[in-house]
Subunit: 283 residues, 2 copies
């Protein structure tokens, strides 16, 4: 997805929020804002927003010297999700359509996103998303791809959400590789978060190599790229990965809740809609 | 009021909103954002936010070559308010406390503010504000100052709101000078808006000389400064004027609805609260 003009004030808002999370030192926060402001003239509208995010969050790490400000929140989110795991597992097992219920639950987990300026309550959001209509629903195509797939590449998004991803991976029952970010960025899932979520029990965990809050192929390592090209089914979770991967040429299924109106518009849906959308998918 | 760190992303948001209002040319909007971003490092937290606003909105005028993008909206707001005028006039006349009702109506007009990112419906807001409790209510002091006053300086804020200000001026019944901005900035009231609101019938209209979306004494002309120092009662409408005047040494009564959480916090109230607050007011 390209960068829209309205992403630019949002970058500044994100930088402020993340800097405040990383430090209480007002001078450092001001320095983050000053340098983010200076970056703006170099932002091309032709790159994806998380490519700019990559520079912004690195700059925040450099200035605040805090490499993982969201660590405690990530752990709390993972623990909260793990507590829900047994009940959700049962709910999936007893559902009329276990796969679809697992997809809905995985999307509900996508509300645990500290990159957007929204509060959430995972229990309430779960209840809502379990009933909500999909704004894009390529479920038949998804099932067909899944049925034929010998391997699944599942590109994770946030920590905590990762526990819900595990439920979907278990429900799909295929050999799966779960992809995490290379370094902590916002509350995105890194390797230790994936392990804490129990994903090591149900999948191989690899890093994409991306330090951005998204999967941006030009920032990814060759091992990931090979997996990305060769996997039979690629599932991409969340907004950041959509922003990074929406224009790739291979089939990808995006699972997300549209929490930002720019991304919603790019997807052709409304804010707060839930989405199961395949690109380059033939039947 | 000093500039808080969280004002800085808001400046960028305001610049984007105002630039989009002023032009459809995406390159010009990007240029506004680039140059606003560059300005950030020169923003001191020790100046008031509208002093920075002064540079931002001038920059938007210079880049877009549109000196009054809100002209049509201002006229529409004035006409909408003029249609309500007879009914509101009657309401004040039949109220138990006409002065207090007129103050509430003048505050309700303060929702017509295109500098903040909020939509409004003047009819609904009127109904609510006519019943709402004040979060700061220096009414006794206000009445005492008004009773003794031979002259009132009424510093206006937005166009449209100005019609509601006229009702309060008529209700107070004192010789009044109504103060407008020197040039169009956002939807703030300039001389022709004040005349279109009928304020010329009930007051002398003067410009403060300020080109900022606020009254900032260092930007004001000497004629205004003299009036400001000599008037028996100074009424300041709206957030911008509060930001500019909250630390002056003379008595001022602020009438506003707190639409921004930073200003609300500075005032010691909550967002959406209504305020009648006197500073340097002795009884």
């Amino acid at each position: 997805m390209k960068t829209y003009l309205e992403c630019i004030p949002c970058f500044m808002q994100q930088a402020y929020r993340a800097a405040k999370f990383a430090t209480h030192d007002e001078e450092k926060i001001k320095k983050v804002l000053d340098s983010t402001g200076e970056m703006i003239k170099s932002i091309s509208l032709n790159v994806t927003p998380p490519e700019t995010g990559n520079h912004i969050y690195k700059n925040i790490r450099d200035i605040t010297l805090n490499n993982d400000p969201y660590k405690d929140i990530k752990n709390a989110n993972i623990n909260e999700a793990l507590k829900l795991y047994p009940e959700l597992k049962m709910r999936i097992q007893h559902a009329d359509d276990p796969l679809l219920t697992a997809i809905r639950i995985a999307i509900a987990g996508n509300v645990m996103d500290l990159g957007v300026n929204k509060s959430y309550n995972i229990i309430d959001d779960l209840q809502e998303i379990l009933k909500q209509d999909f704004a894009a629903f390529d479920y038949d195509q998804f099932k067909e791809h899944l049925q034929k797939a010998k391997s699944v590449l599942y590109i994770g998004d946030n920590a905590g959400e990762s526990v819900f991803d595990r439920l979907l991976i278990e429900t799909m029952g295929k050999p799966t590789t779960f992809v995490v970010r290379e370094v902590p960025v916002i509350n995105d899932c890194v390797e230790e978060d994936a392990v804490a979520s129990g994903l090591d029990k149900v999948s191989e965990i690899i890093s994409s190599g991306s330090t951005a809050p998204a999967t941006i192929l030009s920032l990814c390592n060759s091992f990931f790229i090979e997996k990305f090209n060769q996997s039979d089914l690629v599932i991409s979770k969340g907004q950041g990965n959509y922003e990074g991967l929406s224009e790739v040429s291979r089939p990808v299924f995006f699972l997300l809740k549209a929490k930002c109106k720019v991304i919603a518009r790019d997807l052709g849906v409304s804010e707060n809609d839930i989405v199961l959308k395949g690109i380059n998918v033939k039947l």
